[in-house]
Amino acid sequence: MITLVYLARLREALGAAAEKIELPGDVRTVEALLAWLRGRGGAWAAELAPGRAVRVAVNYDMARAETPVKPGDEVAIFPPVTGG
């Protein structure tokens, strides 16, 4: 299981704040996870489409496409930050 957290505009667009999912066996990176989520279609495919400005954090650290994802992780998906 991993915990997925959606924040700010993406939380509203996807209609979910958080969920727990069983990590598919072939999903081992952030890039693969995003591709798997896009497979849900609809808002998932549109909001997480390649080229959309989406940021990902794994266990509270900013992640990159190749960052590993493993069971027990908390993966947050959000738009570029706008604080300060």
């Binding site: 957290v5 924040l7 700010a8 505009r9 400005a53 954090a57 509270y60 650290d61 900013m62 947050a76 959000f78 738009p79 570029p80 930050v81 706008t82 604080g83 300060g84």
Partner: protein, 148 residues
């Protein structure tokens, strides 16, 4: 190197006094305060809602402050960032850096703000006369952070 995320307003004088204490080695205090403006991208802003990602926010701010302290010869730094409902003229963020000399303190303060703008998980939603809208990230903020 304290970092805080809070709903309440902050008192700049009190925060600076607490950070520098009675330390006679401190010769420079550099501070930045970010405020809510009433206009953004040509729209009137009535209020602003700031949300963050609890757990990551503090860690990200700590990391930024640690990096500043590693890069510049400064004694300590403080970041206070507000979340929740804010109105034009309200204070949003405070960065204070103390050190022996102004050059290092100024640079570290600007670095912390530039990195905060692109790496700390905060998001602003504006309430305008035409409704609500999420603030879009600016490319110029990425460029400023990339300078360092």
């Amino acid at each position: 190197m304290p970092v805080r995320v809070q709903n309440e307003d902050f008192d700049i004088a009190r925060e600076i006094a607490a950070l520098r204490g009675n330390d006679p080695r401190v010769g420079a205090v550099a501070a930045f305060v970010g405020l809510v403006r009433d206009v953004n991208d040509a729209a009137t802003v009535r209020s602003l809602t700031l949300e963050h990602y609890p757990g990551m926010t503090e860690k990200a701010l700590q990391g930024i402050v640690e990096e500043a302290r590693a890069r510049w010869d400064v004694h300590d730094a403080l970041v206070v960032h507000r979340v929740g409902e804010l109105k034009p003229t309200d204070q949003i963020v405070l960065v204070v850096v103390i050190g022996a000399h102004r050059g290092e303190a100024f640079a570290a303060c600007e670095f912390i703000m530039d990195y905060l703008k692109t790496r700390a998980p905060f998001w602003k939603k504006e309430q305008t006369p035409d409704g609500e809208r999420w603030v879009e990230a600016r490319a110029s903020d990425d460029e400023k952070a990339a300078r360092w």
